[in-house]
Subunit: 400 residues, 2 copies
């Protein structure tokens, strides 16, 4: 007995329910900063050092005691004894006394005793004696030891997504491992008696498991994906499988196209948890199930590869991104529709398209067709209340 | 003796030279499709199977011999004996003879002997006898075995970038490893006596190695990055290092800020290869060296973290993407400049900015400042001939 779709829910309503039921990760983990790109910081990063950590020369010149320069001018320069040189990176701790100075390069650490730097342009050197032509005040041309970042200051914030610049900031603080939110754990369960694992023999009437690969590649970077072995469309097998995966944040069933599977899955979710909806006014992608068992969100995805993939982009990925606390940034661009599309009133429609020379050509044939994917650059969405898109319309393509 | 920048070259000219000297990878490798996202296919993928591989029912109904249905109508139905059922995925090879038919679900394999499917709507079933109310022609409601993809056909092309849809296509063909262009091999060499590796003790006047981490994170996914240990600013050490890395596609020197390092590197490249330019009319990022030794492109990057990072985005990454045969897609958005910026005529200027509520605030302090990076969402570029950007200007922010 096949359960009819008594109440197809609107696509926008389905999205809203999915997002409402998605709670951001609380679990954290510590990872190496070199593997942290794209990850989300789980607590404020506070600097426990001053940066640069030492007072530096802001110009090339001579580190001096400011008082020694007072009154200096072109006609009456002050003469100081040069007792050494400091380059950026030098660690020698020379000390200067009254009447002495040290030649210093921009970025060089200000020596003990000195409190200002005279620009080289305002000096003239003669052996180990330098003539200062212009006075400096204490602190002039000196960057303070905490000029850039002060010890105890918040440098990055909880929720920040790590990019190369922020990873550089961590390196600058000497931090090589960082607390981030853990990635959601997602199990992908290919179901359906017609499925054969890649590498297996393709007997008459069978097809390869495709959805596990599209889903796993799509979720890469946003989730920790486990691909299960193919399981039978039977209540026992599906129950057992769900039980064995109870630490998962998501279980995604995909691949079955037999009529019975949908019903089995709905029954199991209803028995052990809650079904939020089954059946969306969406084409393709109607037979989509969404529910929850304990803390695990359950998606029953349509078996056809294109439906499964576009559903994953429009419904699953936004949820996984929210759970991972990552922004969901679609790669989208407005282009011109090359051929008219007639859509179905009352159903949100998704069309795969190929973009060439700024024009979008529909390539959607049927949900089961691989060429609906292989030739597609991405997809467009046609809302339920739009019946017809004439050639030449401006449409928003979302790229795969 | 510090070599002066006799001829600063234009930023656009520098970019052009870099791109001209960058030759796309020829080296290939075979990788698992689950690790192939973002990678570039190195030869056309030809299907060696038909998809679906068997003729399928396009509707729910009865697989029949079309001739048995000729002349059928409501008042004079043709009666056929139902000898079995076929669901999607069934592999039983039943054969039908004249006067027989098989109940079949959409997607089910057409049994031997049958050549058409009668829609269930045009039938009525009574025990094991079905009444056909409407004739079908041979091939009606049947999808051919190569309807989607024909054996021998080109399914994906050399140069295609693998995304989830294309990985799904490979899975559909039963291909679990794929020939792709190898990633460029990039060695990042932190140089400079003031650098300390993360985890090391930060002595007076020293700073942590930052650029290795920003460069490695930025190139992740586009290159195979090797971070070298920190080496001294000496001719011998740099020569030895270059010699030990001769199978690299790129060697990136970064981190030194001493005046001598630039000259040492220029001398070595001139001795063993060619210097294409040193010194760009760019702020920050002026002291940039670009050359080639044998087949290795050499970049000498400015040591300051922000200069090194923005240089990497504007000059290095486009080159690495070209070498990897990947598109370089900048994440950019037009926003409103919140505060005026005064720029330097004659130098292409890069400013880090923070974007908040659609407005960009300059956060660039100095190239050495970590906060020029930590507070930045991305950067804007101000061409050499623009002196002043008033508050309220529309500017293009390129996001980190």
């Amino acid at each position: 007995m096949m359960r009819p779709f008594l109440e197809l829910i609107d696509f926008e309503e389905a999205k809203k329910i999915i997002m409402e039921k998605t709670e951001p990760m609380e679990k954290r983990e510590k990872i190496d900063i070199l593997s942290a790109i794209g990850r989300v910081i789980s607590e404020d990063v506070i600097s426990d050092i001053n940066i640069p950590g030492f007072a530096r020369a802001a110009v090339d010149g001579y580190a001096v005691i400011a008082e020694d320069t007072y009154g200096a001018n072109q006609r009456e320069p002050r003469e100081l004894k040069v007792i050494g040189k400091i380059f950026a990176g030098d660690t020698s701790k020379i000390r200067i006394n009254r009447g002495e100075c040290i030649q210093i390069a921009t970025g060089g650490a200000i020596p003990d005793g000195a409190d200002a730097v005279v620009m080289v342009e305002h000096t003239s050197l003669d052996d180990d004696t330098v003539r200062i032509m212009k006075p400096v005040y204490p602190g002039e041309n000196v960057s303070s030891e905490d000029e850039d970042i002060a010890k105890g200051g918040v440098v990055l914030r909880e929720g920040d997504v790590l990019n190369p610049a922020k990873i550089g900031v961590l390196a600058a603080l000497g931090i090589n491992s960082i607390d981030v939110y853990a990635l959601p754990k997602v199990a992908v369960i290919p179901t359906g008696d017609e499925l054969v694992p890649i590498g297996g023999k393709l007997e008459y009437g069978k097809i390869y498991d495709i959805n596990s690969y599209t889903l796993a590649s799509l979720l890469q970077g946003s989730a920790d994906v486990h691909i299960n072995e193919i399981i039978e469309d039977s209540e026992d097998k599906i129950k057992e499988c769900i039980k064995s995966l109870k630490d998962m944040d998501y279980i995604i069933f995909s691949g079955g196209s037999s009529v019975g599977e949908r019903d089995i899955l709905i029954d199991i979710i209803e028995e052990e948890g809650e079904v939020f909806f089954h059946g969306i006014a969406l084409k393709p992608g109607k037979p989509t199930i969404f529910g929850k068992i304990r803390n695990t969100l359950i998606f029953g995805m349509p078996g056809y590869p294109t439906s499964c993939l576009t559903n994953a982009y429009t419904l699953l990925l936004p949820s996984v991104k929210k759970k991972a606390r990552m922004p969901y940034i679609e790669k989208k661009k407005e282009v011109i529709l090359a051929e008219k599309i007639v859509s179905t009133i009352g159903r949100h429609q998704i069309y795969t398209v190929e973009v060439e020379d700024g024009k979008a050509y529909p390539v959607f044939k049927e949900s089961g067709a691989i060429t609906s994917m292989s030739e597609a650059s991405g997809y467009i969405e046609i809302p339920a209340n739009v019946e017809y898109l004439p050639a030449g319309s401006k449409i928003l393509v979302k790229y795969f």
